[in-house]
């Protein structure tokens, strides 16, 4: 695509920001524009995704962005993180806008917590087949998939725990991570309390307050800007047969994430690269079991083989597929995947704290178990 991410910005990641969600959004966008060497008056497009209380026009008001010719909001919460970049890239490519900022900001820990039971969500007719039965949290909804995955492939709680250990190991050396300097062992994981069996506390990502923003413009414009651009090699959304939000339990196979399979096909086709060309993988990690399933859907290993792939050490910084060098959402912060895109940009620039050597291509995925999206970022 003729688009590049030319600026990234973020607030601090905390458990209690002490400021409004709109302030977090405005701070993150301002930081991203400063990083890009652009002014608010250069911006003519804004994109966010649902479960964000900051209206595009409110963000524009705070920043003093005078006119917008493109504004959009993608559905399905965290599944939409990479889709914001797709929207921005399409807008830039078609001329709908010249400079588009994608943003996400919330007080997800000190304010409205997605991990609690959302009684109001039961008003959704789809949720009436799960919430009244007691299945009302994201952890429990993922646990239903995880139990079946364990049953069919012999995966264990320890196999899930290895993902948490890797993320926390990487976060331990990232000063911006909430869990900086706080690695965990597999024993820590195994002794953490049950949340929704088979998920333990340390299988579940943290909750965070904060904001992240990304500036997208054309590759031509990017050449005149101060930062090394991260080119959008491919961006796609994915939804699959009999799709529900978190509860696609009625398909033949409960051990897969076919919507991520749709994303994988799209990314490899559009970017012209394949799994073996990926230098860094930023995989959405709200719950550890779905990282295993993603590895399979994306073609890094065969069905049911993710546990062996993970145990082989492939996901370490010096492995064949370094995973979430910033620490992921389990380790850095839960910003609905937007902080992972920013990490992808840093890896392309060569400025990450846990920089992987010789990075040509970074894969980033968005929320799993929901209609989702993905990105391939690359060198110019």
């Amino acid at each position: 695509m003729n688009a590049a991410i030319v600026g990234i910005g973020a607030t601090d990641f905390s458990k209690d920001s002490g400021r409004s969600e709109l302030q977090l959004a405005a701070e993150a966008v301002r930081a991203a524009l400063a990083d890009a060497g652009l002014e608010p008056s250069d911006v003519d497009g804004l994109v966010s995704f649902t479960m964000d209380t900051n209206a595009e026009i409110a963000v524009a008001r705070e920043l003093g962005i005078p006119e917008l010719t493109f504004f959009s909001r993608v559905h399905y919460g965290g599944g939409a993180a990479c889709a914001t970049v797709q929207q921005a890239a399409m807008a830039v490519e078609t001329g709908a806008a010249k400079v588009v900022v994608c943003y996400r900001a919330f007080n997800e820990r000190s304010g409205h917590r997605f991990g609690q039971v959302q009684t109001a969500a039961a008003a959704n007719i789809d949720n009436s087949w799960s919430y009244p039965m007691g299945l009302g949290t994201p952890a429990a909804m993922v646990a239903m998939f995880a139990r079946r995955y364990m049953h069919e492939y012999g995966a264990t709680s320890e196999d899930f725990g290895r993902i948490a250990v890797i993320d926390r190991k990487h976060a331990a050396t990232n000063p911006h991570a909430w869990f900086h300097d706080r690695p965990i062992t597999l024993d820590d994981h195994q002794s953490s309390r049950w949340i929704a069996e088979p998920l333990r506390l340390l299988d579940c990502c943290q909750e965070s307050d904060g904001g992240v923003a990304l500036v997208v413009t054309s590759q031509e414009r990017a050449r005149d800007l101060p930062q090394k651009p991260a080119h959008v090699k491919a961006a796609t959304q994915g939804s699959s047969v009999d799709q529900f939000t978190m509860t696609s339990y009625y398909r033949d196979d409960l051990t897969r994430l076919p919507e991520m399979g749709v994303v994988a096909r799209g990314l490899w086709e559009k970017s012209g690269i394949g799994p073996s060309d990926v230098d860094v993988a930023v995989l959405y990690d709200h719950f550890t079991p779905f990282v295993l399933v993603q590895l399979e859907e994306l073609g890094f290993c065969g069905r049911g083989e993710a546990k062996d792939f993970v145990a082989s050490g492939a996901l370490e910084l010096d492995g064949t597929l370094p995973l979430n060098p910033h620490g992921g959402q389990l380790g850095e912060a839960y910003l609905h995947g937007m902080n992972g895109i920013a990490e992808g940009v840093r890896q392309i620039r060569g400025t990450a704290v846990n920089q992987v050597g010789g990075v040509e291509h970074v894969l980033v995925t968005a929320g799993t178990g929901v209609p989702t999206s993905g990105l391939v970022l690359g060198q110019g």
Binding site: G115, Q116, V117, T119, A122, A123, N124, I125, D126, S128, W129, S130, Y131, P132, M133, G134, L135, G136, T137, A140, A143, M144, F145, R147, R148, H151, R193, W194, I195, A196, E197, T247, Y249, Y250, L254
Partner: protein, 299 residues
Amino acid sequence: MIDVEKEAARIAEQGESAPRLARDPINLPMINNWLEAIGDQHPGYTEVAPPAMVQVWTMAGLHGQRTLDDPLGQMMGILDEAGYTSVVATNSDQTYHRYLRLGEQLSVTTSLEDVTGPKRTGLGEGWFVTTRSTWWVGDEAVAEMRFRVLKFRPAQKPAQKPEPVEETPKAQAIRPSVNRDTEYFWEGTRLGELRIQRCGGCGLLRHPPGPMCPECGATKPKYLVSEGHGVIYSYVVHHHPQVPGKQTPFVIALVELDEGVRMLGEFDGEPSVGQRVEVVFTEVDDELTMPSWRPRADR
């Protein structure tokens, strides 16, 4: 009027009570009884006692009485007189300096550390009383404990026991929203029928239901009444956070019905994938009856 704080200061000033001897030396029969009662199967307690048992050795027994210089006993008496007649233990922090060996003779001393109040608590107004105990073998301190109780005046209001903090499950359970596409299902549960949508055009069975058949496009959905039998396809044991209307932990099972569709419901039992179950209907109120699952003997 009794001045609780003044009395507390007087008792605290007395310092440590005189050492009170354990009834028996550390001994194996008592260790075995304790391990059995607690359910501790660790095989290592043949020469030494479990550390957490320390308080047991100096308990006064079934008909025991506190010694006159016991500061906790004295403080309880004063608070009883002041009208704070009920007691609940709130904290017990123990520190073990070493293992206790068979044959060692323990003694314990206790001092009053702190009395704070009056505090308004959920149980009623009361005082927090903190004591510090030290266990000795000869003149060697082997373990310590900070122990806190709330001595309170029971809240007057309710004639019977205070209501449990959690409201009754049924009152606040999450209710389904119902529309034209789904009302047949909830009508069915009220009648004790588990209904599965069946396409009026091609006969496709489908759950959750919808208005248009994805196979043939017909918009005349009908239903069949399921036998209500199936197997657990997957399940979750929910622990955290609290779910309105449920007592944690509880099990939610995804059941594959014999007719071929899957359906979620709470499961009452020890779950396993492949286990046979049958439907149960629970009336929440006139409007709502919830289906759930229970184990079913095969054949």
